[in-house]
């Protein structure tokens, strides 16, 4: 009990003093997950739009696959990326295993299906409503895609935030491909796991609090985006 009380006091101290190690870890977490979501968005949104708009045989299979991949277990993604990047793997010569780059790749793969599947759904629904009007304007597929992406912007941002929430809170993938190396690849989740097992509860709790705060902030942002969208009838 005494230990726990001490730990709480220490946690508080770490947070208030903006401990340098703590900041470094939080910073890397945000950077890795942020970059992963950016990449997933740049690929996933157009991919989702393409699947929403194009009509080709086997399209339904891609839709099912994307939806199924939304629930990919992070450890499995970590393992797959590990196999790709390990010395014997096809991308082994790049030498990026156990670097933040590897972590970004793993998280981008984890988030991509979420972004692509949600984008596909949103844009396909909107296409039903817009298609005739856009065709009357003489728009081709390219114009339609960009119009639909812009008009779905609030829903798409929500999808990106959902992806970020999943990435930043995930341990399995980053620990496998990052290796949890001090000052190099330590992010919030992996550090919490490690420090807890070492008995350094204060540090783990401080990070836990920061993580919960970030996830809450992301949800608040989603909520306020929805609110803005509804208020201007853009939802």
């Amino acid at each position: 009990m005494h230990d726990l009380t001490n730990a709480f006091a220490e946690t508080f101290g770490l947070l208030v003093s903006l401990d340098a190690d703590l900041l470094e870890i939080v910073g890397l977490s945000l950077w890795v997950s942020g970059l992963a979501v950016l990449i997933a968005g740049l690929i996933g949104v157009p991919l989702g739009a393409l699947v929403a708009i194009a009509r080709f045989p086997g399209r339904w299979a891609i839709v099912v696959l994307l939806n199924a991949m939304m629930g990919l277990p992070p450890v499995v993604v970590g393992l797959a990326v590990y196999l790709l990047l390990s010395r014997a793997g096809p991308l082994g010569p790049l030498g990026i295993l156990y670097t933040p780059t590897a972590m970004v790749i793993a998280q981008a793969i984890l988030v991509l299906p979420i972004v692509a599947a949600l984008s596909r759904q949103t844009i396909e629904d909107m296409k039903l409503e817009y298609e005739d009007q856009l065709r009357v304007f003489g728009m081709g597929p390219r114009g339609m895609v960009s119009t639909l992406i812009w008009d779905a912007r609030y829903s798409l941002m929500t999808a990106l935030l959902a992806g970020f929430g999943r990435a930043v809170a995930e341990v399995g993938a980053v620990i496998i491909v990052g290796g949890n190396i001090n000052h190099v690849t330590r992010v919030m989740t992996t550090t919490i796991a490690l420090e807890t097992s070492k008995g350094n509860l204060a540090f783990a709790m401080a990070l836990g609090l920061v993580l919960v705060t970030i996830v809450t902030a992301v949800n608040a942002l989603v909520f306020s985006l929805r609110h803005t969208a509804t208020r201007s009838a853009y939802a």
């Binding site: 817009y130 009357v136 003489g138 728009m139």
Partner: protein
């Protein structure tokens, strides 16, 4: 104007000539042997329809007659089961599409401001950024919507949305304008304003195809009439003649305000 084979092109406003000359013509819009059947019911059965020249053709007919479907077919939005649609003598193509304006029975407004709705349509039609902005403002002013130009389009009232959809279609300076019941939700002043706008467009060289159930309105604006019933064009011709002496029982009943042809279970009427 809608007689078979008539392909005359009326004079257009001088200011627009240079702009329009560079583009392929969408007129005449011609449908031939158009048939659409669904669930064993013939929804559309039109041997020939030529939409050409200028002026105001009013398309009348009871609910479910196939008016909206015919318009969507001519605009190349619905492929008929059989028959052909041509625009300016050619297969419909994207280059001509923007020359055919269409305001749907339920207007589709983009999730943008009123002004951005018009600007985007103009940009899609290849109008330069600066000119699009200018023309969007002119169109809003003409529709008396300037004070709402920054409003999210979908927050506008139903009537304002209809006026915006029409302003957007007009801003593209179409050769042909299909209007599917564009005044149903409007107050009398807006109806009058829109009728005036459309009549002016018809006089200055645009061909307007206007769907309405309101025979008083049709009398006010029509130069000629198409009367549809059960997927077929039963009557076509000059407005005055149609109203004085409708040639079919269905048209007489329609004008008298009766139910046209008791809808049996196999053709329940429904709004598109």
């Amino acid at each position: 104007m809608l007689d078979r084979g008539n392909t005359s092109v009326a004079g257009r406003p001088i200011a627009d000539l240079a702009f329009e000359e560079a583009r392929p013509e969408v007129r005449p819009v011609v449908g031939q042997n158009i048939r659409i059947a669904r669930d064993g019911r013939l929804l559309l059965d039109v041997d020939e329809l030529v939409v050409s020249g200028s002026g105001m053709t009013v398309l009348m007919g009871p609910n479910g007659a196939g008016k909206s479907l015919l318009l969507r077919c001519l605009a190349n939005l619905v492929a008929p089961d059989s028959g052909t649609i041509t625009w300016g003598g050619c297969q419909p193509d994207r280059a001509r599409a923007a020359r055919l304006g269409f305001v749907f029975q339920r207007p589709v407004l983009l999730r943008r401001s009123a002004r951005a709705n018009i600007r985007h349509a103009l940009r899609a039609a290849g109008v330069s950024r600066g000119e699009a902005a200018e023309r969007a403002d002119q169109a809003l002013a003409a529709a008396r919507l300037s004070h709402l130009s920054r409003m999210p389009a979908r927050r506008l009232s139903g009537g304002e949305q209809q006026r915006l959809a029409l302003a957007r279609a007009m801003a593209l300076r179409p050769e042909c304008l299909f209007l599917d019941e564009p005044t149903v939700n409007l107050d009398p002043a807006s109806v009058a304003a829109i009728e005036a706008t459309i009549i002016a467009a018809g006089r200055s060289g645009t061909k307007v195809l206007f769907v309405t159930h309101d025979s008083a309105q049709a009398r006010r604006i029509a130069t000629d009439i198409l009367f549809m019933h059960d997927g077929q064009i039963l009557e076509r011709g000059e407005a005055a003649r149609f109203f004085d002496a409708p040639g079919t029982a269905a048209a007489r009943a329609f004008l008298a305000g009766d139910l046209v042809g008791e809808p049996g279970p196999e053709h329940r009427v429904r709004t598109a």
